[in-house]
């Protein structure tokens, strides 16, 4: 199991063919109090970088982009019902959606945890 990060502050945790996607702890800190989340429906096909979900804080609205290509298997209803999970557990219970990866080679273009940390330190 490995976790990869994007420059747009999404993460994807990969177990076999399945990826779980959310936004990073750094991102939730920048967003502030999250009050609304919209997640994609199961069956939707996403390309890498496609707009996949929406997250809105008290301050502003942001799009969440899919870090990899694939087919959505599940949107997280818990985070829709309780958007503050994005703040309290962004890289755990606050995940947005799961998908079956269609091209695992795309993972090579993402950052690992260590690379992402230094990327955030430069922000």
């Amino acid at each position: 199991m490995s976790v990869y990060y994007t420059k747009e502050h999404e993460w994807v945790r990969v177990e076999g063919e399945t990826g779980t996607v959310g936004v990073s702890d750094f991102a939730q800190g920048q967003l502030g109090d999250v009050v609304f989340v919209e997640v994609p429906q199961a069956g939707r096909t996403l390309g890498k970088g496609d707009e996949a979900a929406v997250v809105e804080s008290v301050k502003a609205a942001s799009d969440v982009y899919s870090p990899v290509s694939g087919t959505v298997t599940e949107g997280n209803q818990a985070v829709v019902d309780e958007p503050s999970l994005v703040n309290t557990d962004p890289e755990g219970e606050g995940w947005f959606f799961r998908l079956i990866l269609s091209d695992t080679s795309e993972l090579g273009e993402l950052m690992n945890a260590e690379q992402y940390q230094s990327y955030c330190d430069d922000q």
Binding site: G32, D33, F36, E38, E56, V58, K59, A61
Partner: protein, 369 residues
């Protein structure tokens, strides 16, 4: 902080308290400390301390000060009593709003508080339009704090005995810890509270003293915006601008009765016409269906998707736990209960015109218990 942003007198104090700073009105200002929701709720339940030193504090003095101001503002200066702040509007010749402000008679002069983002334009306008016997001073040496919330009176009266006797929209001179302070019972949150003008060179000591009271926490601009939106109070540059009249903006209360009839202020002809015939469009409050906020810039649309109005402020109400907005809609759609459609982020939202304030004001009015 970018080079073009100025530091407020409390800049270091905000940063030491963990504030996240953003550019606003040409200054680096605290947008939040612990978080907007927590700060919003704290202000509604206890007392929040806001640094509003970016706002312009002006004095207008001289033999022609009163007549000069009356020629530029729709307020009735003949009945403007000493130390009674009055909400008023700087109007252009077409009746558009140059700024909204507070004006207070203070002995032989008038004290004005204007918006930070517009203060330099206001000063230029006033200097160009005031008569020769009226003199303007921009009090750059003064800082401005606001203490807002149901427990503001407890915290401030502990330090400044006597402030509890002020009622909503009254003011007086006091001292805090030996520092001269002009304090009014007023604010921009819908809560009871005070606005406190003190010399900038003493404001850090005063802020520290206020924040040391158990009821008080510092509050950033983010919560200031969500609080004023719930209170139905317009924000200049968003809900009000040079192309918007007081009648359209539903600020008729700022047009004093005598002045509505007599005129003698910029834009009166258009304003009088709108008062008798009704405006084409009007600022209203909206409760938006669902949970997703609709924000400034969204369009109000008709059944065919044509733009008929615009959202000028919008967000998530922490008190109501629902999205709320202010919008300009056609006069025919401005009645409470009217349904509206909004286009935002590629989607159509629906909402209902709702009387403002969204959250009831809790001012300490004269005669109230």
């Amino acid at each position: 902080m970018t080079e073009t942003e100025q530091a407020l007198p409390l800049d270091g104090w905000h940063r030491a308290r963990g504030a996240r700073m953003v550019g606003f009105a040409g200054y680096a200002m605290p947008i939040q400390y612990e978080g907007i929701l927590a700060e919003h709720k704290w202000t509604r339940e206890s007392a929040g301390l806001f640094d509003v030193s970016h706002m312009g504090q002006l004095l207008v003095a001289g033999p022609d000060a009163e007549q000069g101001l009356e020629s530029l503002l729709p307020a009735d200066f003949a009945i403007l009593k000493e130390a009674r702040p009055k909400y008023s509007l700087l109007l252009n010749d077409e009746g558009g709003i140059i700024d909204d402000l507070m004006v207070t008679r203070r002995g032989d002069h008038f004290y004005l508080v204007v918006n930070g983002a517009t203060k330099h334009g206001d000063i230029a306008h006033l200097k160009a339009r005031l008569p020769a016997g009226a003199f303007l001073d921009h009090m750059k040496e003064q800082a401005l704090l606001a203490l807002q919330g149901p427990k503001a009176v407890n915290a401030l009266s502990r330090l400044v005995p006597g402030v509890e006797a002020l009622t909503f929209m009254t003011a007086a001179a006091f001292t805090i810890d030996g520092v001269a302070a002009w304090i009014s019972r007023s604010g921009y949150t819908g809560e009871d509270g005070y606005e406190i003008s003190v010399p900038a060179n003493a404001v850090e000591r005063i802020a520290e003293l206020l924040a040391a009271q158990g009821e008080v926490k510092p509050i950033g601009l983010g919560a200031r915006d969500s609080l004023r939106l719930e209170a139905g109070l317009p924000l200049y540059g968003h809900d009000l601008d040079q192309d918007t009249t007081p009648v359209e903006a539903d600020l008729v209360f700022a047009l004093s009765k005598r002045r509505r009839v007599e005129g003698g202020f910029p834009g009166w002809q258009r304003i009088a016409r709108e008062l008798s015939d009704g405006p084409i469009r009007k600022r209203v409050g909206l409760m938006v269906d669902g949970r997703q906020p609709v924000r400034e810039g969204a369009m109000v649309v008709d059944g065919e998707g044509n733009e008929v109005g615009k959202v000028t402020s919008g967000g998530f109400s922490p008190s109501l736990e629902a999205p709320i907005a202010m919008a300009y809609v056609p006069a025919a759609a401005a009645e409470p209960g009217s349904r509206v459609s909004l286009a935002s982020r590629g989607k159509i939202f629906t909402g209902t015109v709702t009387p403002m304030p969204f959250v009831p004001h809790r001012y300490m009015r004269k005669g109230a218990a």
